[in-house]
Amino acid sequence: MGPYRAMARIAWRNALAYRVPFLMSLSMMVFNLVAMFALWQALLGDGNSLAGFTWPQMKAYLLVSFFTNCLVSTFTDFAMASRIRSGAVAVDLVKPVDYQKSRLAEALGFALLEAAAAATVCAVVLVAFGGVPLPSPGRLALFVASLAAVVPLKFLIAYMCGLLCFWTQNYLGISLARGAVSGILSGATVPLAFFPAWLRQVAEVLPFQAVTNTPAMLFLGRNPGLPGALAVAVQLLWIVALWWLARRLWHVAVRRLTVHGG
């Protein structure tokens, strides 16, 4: 087994060792999903539509949003932050593997588990609340590709936030700020269609919208034809750009490392 595959596998094993906190954080997101369902059903349930969303479409949007929320949500950045703060990162630095690729491998390992859990929840919700409009097979393929791109994208955002621990000793604040900013700008809290024009324009030039808005729009068929493919291309561009940016940040950050004692 190659080194990075082995790391992904051990991350997966580790996630099973932490199944209680994993299930807790999953159930938190499920509660959130249920609340959103209740809210939007009250608004749209009697055949209304708002900003072009009917109730079945909104159900689909909420499920996609829930799914992307679950991916790369729990372990990567907190594990990294605590290792940087405690100095355990010293051990990671004497291993014959690239730090950034290693963390990505771990995130992918967790993501497998997260995707399986989220898909199960989605299936249960679909049975309980009735169907949603399904896209054509071609659209569906593009949608799956964009979901796959969400994993490295979310990872890179979380990774760079984790690196900030080389400057600050408290990660909770960074994590909460990241959650708030990306929750709004990705469209996970409210679809971008509900934003005022200026905020929508801001959101569209930032990487966060590629996390939730892009796959949701693909699923709903809001950008048929070329624009849909372009949206996935934009995701890939963001991955390349953020990967490079994260590397630069790492090189600056690691010079600041201070490990006292042992």
Binding site: R5, V94, P96, G262
Partner: protein, 342 residues
């Protein structure tokens, strides 16, 4: 010595840390937000160190002397503020991946085991990380299981290990890929005597097999039993560098007799009779300490002389070892002690 044979070569190594200077209290914290002030602390202040293939070096010094920081510079964990390091031709902090293949690192106060998984999972992951061929891995594991007796620990969760078990597993983890040089940062800290003995015997074996070892420690036993060369650092500089054997031989000629007397010691009388010895009092006037060269006069003669002058209740004879040297080296203003020993 040809410069090509050096495995580790550090020149003019400096590492500075910035510490924020904050006044106490909320006012101080707010002030720090506006006017950020830092104190520069030089943990390593210009170290030149050369280690050849196959050497076993003890790197000693008081707490905060810069030992651990040096190890972290040599392993590439920290980036030096100034100076150069090369380990087996690689600049460690620039090419961490290449460096990691050549070195093994053990931190006494940290573990590299995956905390929530059984020990064997860590070894299998390391096998994949270092791309160790299956046959080499099996051979390496068999040897490590035998000498470190870690076989029974393999199915145990790493966090359930005792400190001694953990250290043995950590040693095995650091040596699995058969590194050319092993850095050990206080490997026996907190271990009981019997585990210490096993770890030392293992390290001695490692040195005999030709692995280069750099060991930081506060434990004299580690130095005497494992290392042939001793480097003493203080305040980020090297204060002494030489063979352990020479130190021991020089110091072995020094002896100390401690007397407990029935009455205050007549120092001038004793000094008159023992002109070449160092005669002082200990905690009280009734505690007498005589330090002398055993090659000039046997301990019995010293004891007989003192007993002839004053009533002795108890006495104890101590031979000096490396411990005393290090203690004296730790007293900063004692270059004389150094010269006397070297």
């Amino acid at each position: 010595m040809a410069s090509t044979s050096a495995l580790v070569e550090a020149t003019g190594l400096v590492k500075e840390f910035r510490r924020p200077r904050k006044a106490p209290g909320l006012a101080g914290a707010l002030k720090h937000l506006v006017t950020r002030r830092f104190d520069v602390h030089r943990a390593v202040a210009g170290i030149d160190l050369r280690i050849d293939e196959g050497e076993s070096v003890a790197y000693v010094g008081p707490n905060g002397a810069g030992k651990s920081t040096t190890v972290k510079l040599l392993t590439g964990i920290l980036v030096p503020t100034a100076g150069e390091v090369r380990v087996a031709g690689v600049v460690p902090h620039r090419d961490r991946v290449a460096n990691a293949r050549n070195v093994g690192v053990v931190f006494g106060q940290r573990t590299q085991l995956w905390w929530d998984l059984p020990v064997h999972e860590t070894f299998e992951l390391l096998r994949d990380m270092y791309r160790i061929p299956a046959a080499d891995y099996r051979r390496s594991m068999d040897r490590l299981c035998e000498v470190l007796e870690i076989g029974p620990l393999l199915p145990v969760l790493a966090r359930k290990l005792s400190l001694g078990q953990r250290m043995r597993a950590d040693l095995a983890a650091a040596l699995l890929h058969e590194p050319r040089i092993v850095y050990l940062d206080e490997p026996t800290i907190g271990l009981d005597v019997s585990v210490k003995d096993r770890v030392r015997a293992f390290l001695r074996q490692l040195v005999d097999d030709g692995t280069t070892v750099l060991l930081t420690t506060h434990d004299v036993g580690d130095i005497e039993e494992v290392c042939r060369r001793i480097v003493v650092v203080d305040e980020g500089r090297i204060r002494h560098d030489g063979p352990v054997g020479v130190l021991r031989d020089t110091l072995a000629s020094n002896s100390t007799v401690r007397f407990q007397l029935a009455a205050p010691a007549p120092l001038h009388l004793i000094r008159e009779r023992l002109p070449d010895a160092e005669v002082t009092t200990g905690a009280s006037e009734r505690d007498l300490v005589v330090r002398f060269d055993r090659t000039l006069r046997p301990a019995g003669a010293v004891a007989a002389t003192v007993m002839g002058l004053v009533e002795v209740r108890d006495l104890r004879i101590d031979d000096e070892g490396v411990a005393d040297l290090i203690r004296r080296l730790h007293d900063r203003d004692s270059p004389a002690a150094l010269n006397g020993a070297g």
